[in-house]
Symmetry: C5
Subunit: 306 residues, 5 copies
Amino acid sequence: MEVKSITEQKSLLATLSPGKRARLRRLLFDYGPGNGTLMLLPIDQGIEHGPRDFFPNPASKDPEYQFSLAAEAGYSAIACQIGLASRYYPDYAGQVPLILKVNGKTDIPPSDDAFSSTNASVEDAVRLGADAVGYTLYVGSPRQDVDLHQLKGVREECERYGMPLVVWAYPRGRDIDKKGGQVSFYAIDYAARMAMEMGADVVKLNFPKFDPEKDKDQPAPYNEMDVSPEEAVRQIVESAGRSLVVLSGGSKTDDETVLNHTRTIMGAGGSGVIFGRNVWQREKSEALEIIGQIKETLLSNVRRIP
Amino acid sequence: MEVKSITEQKSLLATLSPGKRARLRRLLFDYGPGNGTLMLLPIDQGIEHGPRDFFPNPASKDPEYQFSLAAEAGYSAIACQIGLASRYYPDYAGQVPLILKVNGKTDIPPSDDAFSSTNASVEDAVRLGADAVGYTLYVGSPRQDVDLHQLKGVREECERYGMPLVVWAYPRGRDIDKKGGQVSFYAIDYAARMAMEMGADVVKLNFPKFDPEKDKDQPAPYNEMDVSPEEAVRQIVESAGRSLVVLSGGSKTDDETVLNHTRTIMGAGGSGVIFGRNVWQREKSEALEIIGQIKETLLSNVRRIP
Amino acid sequence: MEVKSITEQKSLLATLSPGKRARLRRLLFDYGPGNGTLMLLPIDQGIEHGPRDFFPNPASKDPEYQFSLAAEAGYSAIACQIGLASRYYPDYAGQVPLILKVNGKTDIPPSDDAFSSTNASVEDAVRLGADAVGYTLYVGSPRQDVDLHQLKGVREECERYGMPLVVWAYPRGRDIDKKGGQVSFYAIDYAARMAMEMGADVVKLNFPKFDPEKDKDQPAPYNEMDVSPEEAVRQIVESAGRSLVVLSGGSKTDDETVLNHTRTIMGAGGSGVIFGRNVWQREKSEALEIIGQIKETLLSNVRRIP
Amino acid sequence: MEVKSITEQKSLLATLSPGKRARLRRLLFDYGPGNGTLMLLPIDQGIEHGPRDFFPNPASKDPEYQFSLAAEAGYSAIACQIGLASRYYPDYAGQVPLILKVNGKTDIPPSDDAFSSTNASVEDAVRLGADAVGYTLYVGSPRQDVDLHQLKGVREECERYGMPLVVWAYPRGRDIDKKGGQVSFYAIDYAARMAMEMGADVVKLNFPKFDPEKDKDQPAPYNEMDVSPEEAVRQIVESAGRSLVVLSGGSKTDDETVLNHTRTIMGAGGSGVIFGRNVWQREKSEALEIIGQIKETLLSNVRRIP
Amino acid sequence: MEVKSITEQKSLLATLSPGKRARLRRLLFDYGPGNGTLMLLPIDQGIEHGPRDFFPNPASKDPEYQFSLAAEAGYSAIACQIGLASRYYPDYAGQVPLILKVNGKTDIPPSDDAFSSTNASVEDAVRLGADAVGYTLYVGSPRQDVDLHQLKGVREECERYGMPLVVWAYPRGRDIDKKGGQVSFYAIDYAARMAMEMGADVVKLNFPKFDPEKDKDQPAPYNEMDVSPEEAVRQIVESAGRSLVVLSGGSKTDDETVLNHTRTIMGAGGSGVIFGRNVWQREKSEALEIIGQIKETLLSNVRRIP
């Protein structure tokens, strides 16, 4: 089955209120690679996976490492939870923008009924001088009713304070596991649309993975589609409509894959990347090197005007 | 068993507060086919089913398609969720009225305990210039207690702001499945009454389906009734009392069925139709053609003065 | 085992705040049969059972039927939910008092964990000019904690606004089913006391039924008591203390039973009846006839001064 | 294993705010037996067990009986729920102090997950002129999280209004059943401490029962302790620290046991008793006689200055 | 696998608001051993385990014992729940700082779904003159969503009132039991990071235990790590970042272990200890002796400037 491309997206910034526009513009143009791109550094793994993610590069256990990296390497923003934002961000305030993640959870319990409750508020973000708020939405979880309602509150506060809303849109839960899994094209495509429909300004998505065995469990017509990863990412970006899309990296992989993913998302009309472990699980000099390459790749593949 | 007709319904508009009346009148007379009819375009399928509904007509994946269609073809209103209303409606504000749907969910989990939590508020609707609010009520779900209480809050805000309330009344959940299923005459008839009793100004219902195998599981006397679809729809409309009724289409079907359903609902004293996939899963010229036919059918079968 | 009678109840009205007293007096003396009696017309069956209850008398499907009946026949009050109260009561405002029922549910799911959430508020009742509020309490349900707490909120608002509180006290849930069932003497007796202790001004109860097979499952000493229905009703009325008691009819039965029940409740010191299907599942002339007989029976058997 | 006595408790009244002190002093000195004792009459059995508790003495079914008994016999206070407090207490206001119980439940469902939600508020108690508030805490129930949080709200309101807080501390739920049961020394001892730590001014406890079979299921060292009932009660009173302790009676027993329990609790440093069925399940003259004996026993065994 | 040390932590006090700084400084420098250390006396065992913890030293059952001990021996603070804080702290106000624990529970139900609801508020702490608030977080419990959201409210109130937040970070629940248990290196390390990320000013942790059998169930790389207890504690303290760490003792052990643990935590860059049963399960003279040794050990092993 063939799916044709849709028209180019209209500017998102043009649809935003002054507060959201001012803040999001800062990330897109004033900090980071600029030119409408987003290079984001996430450091929520200490909550989501525990300290073990820091073991490959012990220096990374001290949040100072990521904050100084973000500031020195010139990131569009650093994303973290309230504890780090309160204790480590102050030294870097004004040097790199902050995205305050307002919900999170450990990965100790299984994710059959995944839901992340809020542990901070949009008002916290305002007080800390953040330029955006991050929210993890578990698309398709059995507890989606609680999740969507909680997101309503966060979105409304974002509108009230003119704070851009970045949604980590993750398909999750026992039911998506039965329909091809959480990284299938179907799952990620649905997540992209869902985040956009819920009012996300920026959507963070995982790179879809193809697995012949699992893919046939996807609902039609996904179960019979034969698309390249590039085409899949292009369609996913389309599903997010006017919301900007950034792609995440997941666990550490080789450099070529990192840069290829960067090229793919930009070529598909995305706005950037949010790589964590692939960056800070390296010693500083190595980290700075890959960051430089990512930045260059981002800038040389810009297709969308935000 | 024979069931006789009841008297014609009194004007709904006459019972409404000024705010509700002003807004609902706009949909019934100033936009769309007019003359007291409702031709509504729903675009909540991206949430309820995911992007797959857009595949038959890739252009439909861009919400621009539905918004421009609604404006150009002259719809009574377009119904969508907060994300689309915030990003796509502004360009069409004043050209076609907006119904903001305030709850929704993905169809990834099973619907045994169906419940859609709110992801937007009536105040959002006011702010966006909407002329009505949409709410999905899962009639007979095991979680009806949460649903009815949530609807209470929405209804009260609607009264406070003079905002008409459109209830998507869907029988759903494991228990209705045991009593003949969610599209039986019994189920739809109950849903119609329920929505009216809960204060809906407009009720959206599915066309009942007859299935000898399942129908015998309906509670008496439905299990032994032998009525034509036309008669069933007539009775269902009666069950909604003074609330206006619009019929939905469901998945795409042939044109004759679409127009027949339109005739049936109007002949039964209904006020219009809300067809989504049957309209926008076509290329624009084809879509405009069927819309023209629907509009004509609506206007030539008006029986009720709203 | 013999149980002796207690003293006559003191006046309830004498213990009420001015607002409650003014409103309840209206029902007891100014409307309906008067002389301290209550003849109430319930029309909540469209929610609680669905439209099927209207089939025996199709005219009854249009709420106009019950409203006009209540006004013409001179009822003490009509009891219905928010939808009917908003759309149909306005034409009868001032002609017959309104009891706004503030909670309800469909009977599609089983009642093992019965609970009815509120779909309207006491403030709604005030706004609509109602003279009392109705609340369904499922005595002994596994969810009694939620129910009793919700009732607290309703009762407090009733006190705030001087609104009489009528409690539909129904034993319900999987546990009462194991202890003799929901219409046993034990169950109804407990429900009467419970409603009174929770602050009901008027308690609506079902007529107890005797069933040798089930009755032995009641807790002692009910399982071994041998009392006549009249004696049981008398004791049940005593259990409600100073709260007024009205008896309900349930599904349609023969006229003699209707009038016998009326005599029994009045003879037991009750204040009246609340018959729905037994009245409006008849054509108007027949309905008016039985209403006349009920009214006469009420007035000729008054024993308690409210 | 031997457990030694601790020092005498300091005055509780000395630690209380003026409002609490004024009200509690009234119960301890101005009403009832006085001299720092508490003789309380509970009448919450109509909710907790249903009307069957009134059958041994039919007169007791009319709350007038207990209210007049409390006033005539000179009780420190009468404890009841909102319905009785609203309808029966007004006639006795000023004659006997009121303890308004703010939560309760029927015993129809099993108590595996025992929890009593509030059906009245501390503000209700203030409005009704009560001198204390009663709260039932189910110590060790699987729903303790909801219970303790609810108690927080009641305690805070008590502090706000200067209202003494009486906690009915009952070990309950499926887990305590596995650890020796709800009336073991372990269970009651834990309950006493828990209520004190949660801020109770007065703790109501059951008399511990010894049962060789069940007692060995208690956690160490209780499972191997060999203490007399008197010693157990003494230790339990110590566990309640500065909170005053009153002992309850449970179902009706013989007079000697009633008076023995009274002596035991007073000798252990307790402040009084709260006997219900043991008192009002008798005809008035008999009731007054046992009350006289209880009062005398209380006054002749005072050990603690409150 | 080798894990290297990270840089020394920056001063926590320097990052705190004036209110938090003033109060926490009091604990660190003005009371207790001083010099930036924390010697805390917990007395929440009466709630968490019941009175049985007081049996080894009956005098300890009277909270007076712990309060006087804390004041006389010169503790940095005493930590207890609302009941003790209200009734026993007033006599010691100004002599020893108070940490008000705002949540807690009995250990009667199993801890598969561990969650402690709040029974007091930060405002209570302010009113009582406390210098910090304590909160128990069950890291990795299936109910972490409720826990983290509740902690959000407490943290925000702490920020509002300038009240330091001490988090008891306990891995707990059925899932951590499957991943090596609640005292594994993995579990404690995760808990340390979690508390810090949630905004704790001080984190209370258990001493990790090594158990070859269970340790292999830990997620990688913990399951294959071979570190000494000292090294594990050092890494755990690092995981808490700028939050101060105090180590708890658990059930009573021998003196050498107590002092060794004290040395270990201080050597690892921790700030002190919170030993309860190891201290007050001794007669006063013995207790004072071990306290003296702890104090000396603390002061002679200071490594971190808070």
